[in-house]
C-alpha cells in the first residue's frame, strides 16, 4: 500500500490507548499539531467503535487506528493520512478536503459523503449511500457498494471493484463512476457511458493511487455518468425530481 513508514518515523510514534485515554484529549492533541510537528505518526489502540476518531485533522501526519471505529472517523480530514485496521462506522471521511483515508475492513453507510478531495480507499465493502453528494473526492472500494451510492454526486470518482446496489448515481451531476461488477439498478438520470481512452487513463490513475494498478483488468470496468436531463427544472421530469 501507499503508506510506508521509515523505521525512524515508526520509532517516533505517539502511542495512544483509548481504553485508558480520553478520545477528546486525543482529538484535541491532534488538532493542536502544527505543520512542522515531529509527531508525524500516531498509533491508536482499542478504538472499540468510538465516534469521530481523528476527525478534523489539518496537518500532514499519519494516524493508524488498530481496530474498528464508529461514526465520522477522519471526517473533514485535510492533509492527514488516516488508516483504520478494522471496520468503519457511518460517514467515514465525510466531507474530507484532502489527504488519504484507508479502511482495511468494511465501511458503513455514507462513506466519503460530501467529500471535496483526497482519496478514500475501502478494502472491503461499503454499504448504502457510499459517496453521497461527493464533491471531488476519489473513492476506491475493493468490494461492493450498497444502494443509492453516489446519490447526487457532483464531482470526483467512485471506483468499485465489486458490485453496486440499487439506484446507483441517482440524480448524478458530474462525478464519474466506474464499476467492475454488476449494477443492481441505475438511479434517475444515471446512464452507462462509453469507456474511452481518457476514461481508462483516469481509472488507471485512481487504481494506481489506491496501490492496485495491474491487479485488476481495466477493460472489465464500465463507466456510468449523468444523462444531464435533470439539471434544470423541466415539467416533463417532475416525477423524477
Amino acid at each position: 500500500m501507499k503508506l510506508s513508514l521509515t523505521p525512524a518515523a515508526a520509532e517516533r510514534a505517539v502511542d495512544i490507548d483509548l481504553a485508558s485515554s480520553a478520545l477528546r484529549e486525543l482529538n484535541a492533541a491532534l488538532h493542536k499539531l502544527t505543520p512542522d510537528t515531529n509527531e508525524t505518526y500516531w498509533r491508536i489502540a482499542n478504538p472499540a467503535g468510538r465516534h469521530a476518531i481523528a476527525a478534523g485533522l489539518d496537518v500532514p501526519v499519519t494516524v493508524e487506528i488498530d481496530g474498528p471505529v464508529g461514526y465520522y472517523c477522519a471526517g473533514m480530514n485535510k492533509q492527514a493520512s488516516v488508516i483504520v485496521n478494522g471496520n468503519a462506522g457511518v460517514g467515514v471521511a465525510e466531507n474530507m478536503m484532502s489527504g488519504f483515508v484507508h479502511v482495511k475492513g468494511d465501511a458503513s453507510q455514507s462513506a466519503g459523503a460530501t467529500a471535496h478531495g483526497g482519496l478514500l480507499v475501502i478494502d472491503g465493502n461499503a454499504s448504502a449511500r457510499c459517496g453521497i453528494s461527493m464533491k471531488g473526492v476519489d473513492i476506491v472500494v475493493k468490494g461492493s457498494v450498497g444502494h443509492m451510492s453516489a446519490f447526487m454526486a457532483q464531482a470526483g470518482t467512485l471506483t468499485v471493484l465489486g458490485d453496486a446496489g440499487e439506484a446507483l448515481g441517482d440524480s448524478l451531476y458530474e462525478a464519474k463512476l466506474f464499476v467492475r461488477g454488476s449494477v443492481a439498478g441505475l438511479g434517475a438520470d444515471c446512464v452507462e457511458k462509453e469507456m474511452r481512452d481518457e476514461h481508462r487513463t483516469l481509472l488507471a490513475a485512481k487504481l494506481d493511487a489506491a496501490g492496485i494498478l495491474g491487479e485488476v483488468d481495466i477493460s472489465e470496468f464500465r463507466r456510468y455518468g449523468s444523462a444531464r436531463s435533470l439539471y434544470h427544472f423541466h415539467i416533463d421530469n417532475v416525477s423524477s425530481y
Binding site: 467503535g49 457511518v90 468494511d106
Partner: protein, 293 residues
C-alpha cells in the same frame, strides 16, 4: 434516535452470562436513548406454567398479591413475575384485575420476562438486576422518544402475544391505518405508540399461521416508515431493516452467539468479538435465528 441490542446464544455455556452481556450492551447504548429502557429475557420456564410479568406502582407489595392469588411471585423492583399453571392463566388475570387493578400484565409466555422503566438505561438495568439473569436470548432498547410521550408504557419492548416482543428504532408513518386494520381483525393496541402497532401486526400475522420470518416479510409490504426491528419469540430472534436502511444496525456472529447492536460500540465488549464475523444486515432482508431449527 434510540438504541437496540439483541443477543441470541448458540453456546449453552454462555447462558448464565446472558444478562451480564446484555446489560453491558445496554449501558453503551445509553447515549442513543437516555429517556427510558427495557429488555426481554428468555430464561428458564417450567413445563405447563406461564410466566406473567407484572408492573405496578413503586412500593407495590407483590408478595402479598401473589399470596392472595395463590401463585409464586418473584418481585424485581417495580415488576414481578407471577408463575401460573397454564390452565389457570385466565383465572389468575381475572383475580389480579380484581385484587390489584393498578397492576398491569406487560408480558406473558412460557419463558419470556419483560422489564421496562423510565430512566437512564444503565440505572434501569441495575434496578432489575439484569446482569444476574440467565437465558437463551434477549433483546433490549434504549429510548429517545419521538412519536409519543416518555412514559413506562411508551418504553420498549412491546409484547402483544405470548413470548413475543419487539424493539424498534425509527418511526412508522402508517401506524394509524395499520392500527385501524388490526382493530377490525380483533387485535387491540394498548398505547399510542407506533412501535406497539408493529408488534401487534407481527402477532396478528403469526396468529394467522405465519412463521416469524414470514411475518417479517409481510411487514415489508404493510408497514411504512423508518425501522430497524429486533423481534423475540419463544425460540427465536429476528431482525428487519426498512428498504432504505435509514436506521443503523450492525451484527456479529461467532460460534457462541449472534449479537445485534445499533452501533458497533454496543458489541465491542462481547467475548471473542475480535474474531467475530461482523456485518451490517442488508435492507429489506429478513434475518432470523431459531433454536428449534
Amino acid at each position: 434516535m434510540c438504541g437496540i441490542v439483541g443477543l441470541f446464544l448458540k453456546d449453552p455455556k454462555l447462558e448464565p452470562e446472558l444478562g451480564a452481556m446484555l446489560a453491558q450492551m445496554l449501558d453503551v447504548m445509553c447515549d442513543r436513548g437516555p429517556d427510558s429502557a427495557g429488555f426481554a429475557v428468555y430464561g428458564a420456564g417450567a413445563p405447563g406454567f406461564v410466566k406473567l410479568t407484572l408492573r405496578g406502582p413503586a412500593g407495590t407489595d407483590f408478595a402479598k398479591i401473589g399470596a392472595e392469588i395463590g401463585h409464586l411471585v418473584t418481585p424485581r423492583d417495580t415488576h414481578a413475575v407471577l408463575s401460573v399453571p397454564a390452565a389457570e392463566e385466565m383465572a389468575a388475570r381475572t383475580a389480579l384485575a380484581r385484587i390489584a387493578p393498578d397492576i398491569r400484565v406487560v408480558g406473558a409466555g412460557a419463558r419470556m420476562e419483560l422489564y421496562k422503566e423510565v430512566g437512564l438505561p444503565a440505572d434501569v438495568a441495575r434496578r432489575f438486576k439484569l446482569d444476574a439473569m440467565s437465558g437463551t436470548h434477549a433483546i433490549g432498547h434504549t429510548r429517545m422518544a419521538t412519536e409519543s410521550a416518555v412514559t413506562t408504557d411508551g418504553a420498549h419492548p412491546f409484547s402483544t402475544g405470548p413470548d413475543q416482543c419487539l424493539v424498534h428504532n425509527g418511526s412508522l408513518s402508517n401506524h394509524a391505518g395499520v392500527r385501524r386494520r388490526l382493530a377490525r381483525e380483533g387485535v387491540s393496541v394498548d398505547t399510542e405508540n407506533d412501535s406497539e402497532v408493529a408488534a401487534a401486526y407481527l402477532t396478528y400475522r403469526m396468529r394467522s399461521g405465519d412463521s416469524l420470518g414470514e411475518a417479517l416479510t409481510h411487514s415489508l409490504d404493510d408497514l411504512d416508515g423508518f425501522y430497524t426491528f429486533v423481534v423475540g419469540t419463544e425460540s427465536g430472534f429476528g431482525v428487519l431493516r426498512d428498504p432504505i436502511a435509514c436506521k443503523p444496525a450492525v451484527m456479529a456472529e461467532t460460534d457462541g452467539y449472534v449479537a445485534f447492536g445499533s452501533e458497533y460500540r454496543a458489541l465491542a465488549g462481547l467475548p471473542g468479538i475480535d474474531s467475530a464475523r461482523v456485518f451490517e444486515p442488508e435492507p429489506a432482508k429478513v434475518y432470523f435465528w431459531d433454536r428449534a431449527a
